[in-house]
């Protein structure tokens, strides 16, 4: 088992380095840089001297291999540098958004679980009945709907609905106040995107719950339980659900990791100051250092979760280790 873990860990390294190289190259292939945008972005006159100074300060005038060398050294010493746009340390910039993204991820995962578990179980228990079809259609609609469109509809609905009921249009707050400062304000802003994304992500979990339940319902011990005359509700709750949980928990874990990477499009619609919005901003502003750090964060979360899932499965099923 330990040698398997070590082997899997070693495999992570090339992935991380590969992603680091890829993002470095892709960013530099985009014409223009942060200095040109910052000082010439309003269309008027931009002092060439100022642009030169900016490039010098940010090291953009260095040959590309030196820039890469600096970047790699920083990468291995965990010194991610400062944002090229704001001059704040990259870790500070990310730290500010991390809390919001974490909170949304948790809330959306909760929403997703609350939707997925009951629906998946009902769907499996009532397999191939109209109830099953309805649940499946409902959850597939969740993935089919573009999340930003759902966001637009939610805001539209809130504005129109609040005007109709309270005579005064209301929309969720657009600035971020941490949960511990003002829970009500915080939640009134974040519950909507959490609902939108939670619904979307519940689709996969619903399907997983359904098929895991179906699989378990066909297992011998469930049949035995049925033969013993236990009523269906007890069978489902006590016996089947417990055993069906593992793949469901796995899929929820993976989804959580995806959510942590930031909700690029949904954060735009709701003006959330999360990692996804930071991502779009840093990319469109050619903020190399910040984009690189964000990409590495997303990649690291992704490979780490995959690693944990692999380890968990290897632990549960020893055959995998020798494959």
């Amino acid at each position: 088992m330990y040698s398997y873990i070590v082997k899997r860990l070693l495999i992570l390294l090339p992935t991380l380095i590969g992603a680091a190289i890829l993002v470095f190259l892709l960013l530099r292939l985009v014409p223009g840089d942060v200095c040109l945008l910052r000082f010439g972005g309003e269309g008027g006159y931009a002092d060439p001297e100022q642009i030169r100074l900016c490039r010098e300060r940010l090291g953009l005038d260095l040959p590309i291999y030196l820039q890469f060398f600096d970047y790699m050294v920083g990468f291995f010493t965990f010194d991610l540098g400062v944002s090229m746009w704001t001059s704040q340390p990259v870790t500070t910039e990310i730290g500010i958004r991390f809390g919001l993204s974490l909170q949304i991820a948790i809330m959306a995962t909760l929403v997703s679980v609350v939707i997925a578990l009951p629906l998946g179980v009902i769907s499996a228990a009532k397999q191939n009945t109209p109830v099953d079809y309805f649940v499946r259609a409902f959850s597939i609609a969740g993935i089919a709907m573009p999340s930003f469109w759902l966001g637009i509809l939610i805001i539209l609905g809130l504005l129109i609905g609040s005007q109709a009921w309270f005579g005064r249009p209301w929309m969720p707050p657009i600035d971020y106040v941490p949960l511990w400062v003002d829970p009500w304000y915080n939640l009134s802003a974040l519950i909507w995107p959490a609902l939108a994304t939670g619904y979307r992500y519940s689709a996969v979990a619903t399907r997983m719950t359904r098929s895991a339940m179906l699989e378990v319902l066909h297992e011998d011990y469930v049949r035995t339980a049925r033969a013993k005359g236990l009523i269906e509700k007890v069978i489902i709750n006590k016996h089947a659900l417990k055993n069906a949980m593992l793949p469901v928990v796995t899929i929820i874990g993976i989804e959580f990791a995806f959510l942590m990477g930031g909700l690029v499009v949904t954060e735009q619609v709701f003006n959330l100051n999360g990692l996804g919005k930071l991502f779009v901003e840093s990319v469109t502003q050619s903020d190399y250092t910040l984009t690189q750090a964000l990409v590495m964060l997303v990649v690291a979360i992704f490979v780490l979760v995959n690693f944990l899932v692999d380890i968990m499965y290897a632990w549960l099923d020893p055959r995998i280790r020798y494959n």
Binding site: A19, R136, V283, V299
Partner: protein, 304 residues
């Protein structure tokens, strides 16, 4: 020499028959999948016959008819706007019909290229194994973990915007995902006795791959392919919404949700609602269809 060939052929023949039978059963046993198939068919018809179905030129701005509500007549007296118009006075109905063209072009091209490239890489990776497999899998790891938006932005910035560039941006992440799934299926097949037999008779790599391994990974491959179709349409919409996809004045559903559609959502809700509905119905149809294909092809799920 002829004997193993026949035995393999005879192995496959009944399989083909059951696929046909299953398709027949699909409509009866899979009402959802059948509904999905109808949506897909309707979309294909919309895309092909767009010029005949669309009452207006989808790109012709007409400022006398800006933001006309659904069902109202044109102020220019040249017809009825079934779904209303956008801020340029363009008929939404016509734009949605033509948008099906963009969506299907992007969806099919990206899904087909992505899954075939993934098929080739996955089979090759499994078949050759060793360092080739190891290195290829690490590259695939990188691309699977890499955020799509960076890729899309770089592609747009390097090659410019346009439908073909969106296709590239969407195809790239599909390749490693399909390759990964195909590889694991192919790995299982590789150890099968008939592949050993073919190898022992001295068949070349290409022949073994194409005749013996590839057909056996068809099921997971088709499942990926159909799943990609809906996903590609969604990704295209998201990229266009972020301004990184298809550009004005080309009719594309994601693009129709951006900019004015949001700003005027309150007074002209039809502008964001109909294109979003078109995306949802299309992806919904593709997903139902894909699920049915999966149920039909995945032996593990077939019995259910």
């Amino acid at each position: 020499m002829a004997t193993p060939d026949i035995s393999i052929e005879s192995d496959e023949l009944p399989a083909r028959k059951t696929i046909l039978q299953r398709t027949g059963r699909l409509a009866r046993k899979q009402p959802l999948g059948f509904a999905g198939g109808i949506v897909v068919l309707a979309m294909i018809i919309m895309a092909i016959f767009a010029p005949w179905l669309a009452p207006f030129d989808p790109e012709q701005a007409n400022f006398a008819d800006m933001l006309v509500p659904p069902g109202a007549a044109s102020n220019m007296g040249d017809g009825l706007f079934l779904l209303g118009t956008d801020q340029f006075g363009r008929d939404l109905f016509s734009r949605i019909i033509y948008g099906a063209r963009t969506a299907l072009t992007v969806g099919f091209t990206a899904a087909i290229i992505g899954s075939f490239a993934g098929l080739a890489l996955g089979v090759a990776s499994a078949y050759f194994g060793g360092y080739f497999d190891l290195v290829l899998q690490r590259i695939i790891d990188v691309f699977m973990a890499f955020p799509l938006i960076i890729m899309a932005l770089a592609i747009v910035a390097i090659f410019g915007t346009g439908t073909d560039k969106v296709i590239i941006a969407i195809t790239i992440p599909f390749i490693p995902r399909c390759a990964r799934v195909v590889r694991s299926s192919a790995l299982a097949v590789r150890e099968m006795p008939y592949v050993d037999a073919a190898r022992s008779i001295g068949y070349g790599n290409a022949r073994i791959i194409f005749r013996h391994i590839a057909p056996n990974v068809v099921a997971p491959f088709l499942i990926m392919l159909t799943a990609f179709l809906g996903e590609a349409i969604l990704l295209e919409a998201s990229l266009s919404y972020l301004g990184l996809g298809v550009q004005e004045p080309t009719p594309a559903w994601g693009l129709m949700l951006q900019g004015g559609a949001e700003e005027y959502a309150e007074s002209a809700p039809w502008v964001p609602i109909f294109p979003g509905l078109a995306i949802t119905i299309a992806v919904f149809g593709f997903n139902l269809f894909g699920d049915a294909v999966r149920d039909a092809l995945d032996p593990r799920l077939r019995s259910r």
